[in-house]
Symmetry: C2
Subunit: 257 residues, 2 copies
Amino acid sequence: MALRYTFANQKGGVGKTTTVVNLAASMALWGFRTLVVDADPQCNATTSLGLDARALERSVYEVLVGGLPVRQAIVSTRWDGLDLLPSTPGLAGATVELNAEPAQERVGRLARVLAGVEGYDYVLVDSPPSLGVLTVNALVAAQGVVVPVQCEYLALEGLTQLTHTITLVQRALNPNLALRGVVMTMFDRRTTLANEVVSQVRKHFPKRVFESVIPRSVRLSEAPSYGEPGVVYAPRSQGAVAYLCLARELLVGDGHT
Amino acid sequence: MALRYTFANQKGGVGKTTTVVNLAASMALWGFRTLVVDADPQCNATTSLGLDARALERSVYEVLVGGLPVRQAIVSTRWDGLDLLPSTPGLAGATVELNAEPAQERVGRLARVLAGVEGYDYVLVDSPPSLGVLTVNALVAAQGVVVPVQCEYLALEGLTQLTHTITLVQRALNPNLALRGVVMTMFDRRTTLANEVVSQVRKHFPKRVFESVIPRSVRLSEAPSYGEPGVVYAPRSQGAVAYLCLARELLVGDGHT
Ligand SMILES: Nc1ncnc2c1ncn2[C@@H]1O[C@H](COP(=O)(O)OP(=O)(O)OP(=O)(O)O)[C@@H](O)[C@H]1O
Ligand SMILES: Nc1ncnc2c1ncn2[C@@H]1O[C@H](COP(=O)(O)OP(=O)(O)OP(=O)(O)O)[C@@H](O)[C@H]1O
Ligand SMILES: [Mg+2]
Ligand SMILES: [Mg+2]
């Protein structure tokens, strides 16, 4: 049974997609069969893995709302052991359609869908920058939530709301959900602000912040334009190496050696 | 009658809040009476203007959903001529409440509220990173939409969806809505990627991209931790000067000399 992790933070642009894509690619490189679920209508994870969201006929939308068996929407990527349940811009419509469902279905649909998926060691879910129905579905479907936090002052603000939402989901919808960890992203060691943010977050989430801190690295932001994860596009770059270390830290923490 | 501009882009972290706050502060510095409306439950614009969202009893939420007269929720900031209609984390609940209203009210509530506001030259609305009911309200309430676009590859992806949503709003809800302009943000001149993104966006939106390009500047991201706009906190910094130039460009374009 796969370990299912959701990457969530309603603050925009903090590195959710970049973290999902680079962790998944690192895991696949080391032989872990990995499925990325793109639950964001922006389709950034789909594009970052080299696929054209507009060209795909089946996506997580048809699975969530149209009842399509999930196996029929999953596609393989260029990399062995790395598959994708792609998104589509039309997923934005799912919010309205899911909200019309009875409560249990409204938030539990993705969990029901992913329960039927076999043959993976890891399932990593990318979510949109909101605490709406798609993100709640992703939290209900997961055993752990990983929170990317940008090393910026404004990124601190939303952490209280996010932990509040996680607690609500744990109490009412998914008692198994654990905070798997916080990843500090876009760290710029030249600024005191970044150092201050890291120490504040470590205080706020004692023992929960991954040791591997992801530096700001242009290579990581260039990689999606080539449809490749940073760890493939520029494996010796600072950003890629940091993600490989993070992947190793996560895998060791999960009991893999 | 004030000119009402909404700052929208569903891509997260592209500089919507930073642009609203710095343009508003620049306008107030030059004597234009300006109101910032924080329509994002993250409350980043409220914090960036030195106010504590959790300490305020009245916000845009009570106005939108609770029928509070807007005058009673507007607060002044430390700077003359710059007022704020603050947000609150509870605004996230407005999505559910507004969705329960009949269609016209659901999307037209903010427009109705702002029609009753007098005494300002400009009203600038900050919106959340989504195309949901709060952003649609903001688009219906505005005469112009300003689109901040980060100089990153992934930021290009969402532009088609955004222009599609703007067109829908123009056709069905607000025929007066115009694309006032696109602002390129977080430009890093050392990277070829940034230059490529700017030229792609200029091709996509001919004559609509503001000349003033906002560079990546640490001072801009430090300013919110002091509760001040960048143009006040570090007025001679690259980022602040770029926003002052952008404000001037916008004001001149609106016929002010
Ligand atoms: N460590 C990094 N260094 C430099 N650029 C980065 C880094 N991580 C991400 N980026 C870039 O910053 C932007 C935001 O990252 P990303 O899209 O992964 O964030 P997100 O949280 O998924 O955004 P959204 O909230 O819109 O879903 C992207 O253009 C990405 O390429
Ligand atoms: N030109 C800039 N240079 C450096 N940092 C910047 C710049 N503009 C914004 N920032 C910082 O980048 C982060 C994202 O900017 P901001 O919060 O304004 O974007 P946003 O689009 O409003 O985000 P959201 O989608 O979450 O509402 C913030 O931490 C901000 O301080
Ligand atoms: Mg993303
Ligand atoms: Mg914002």
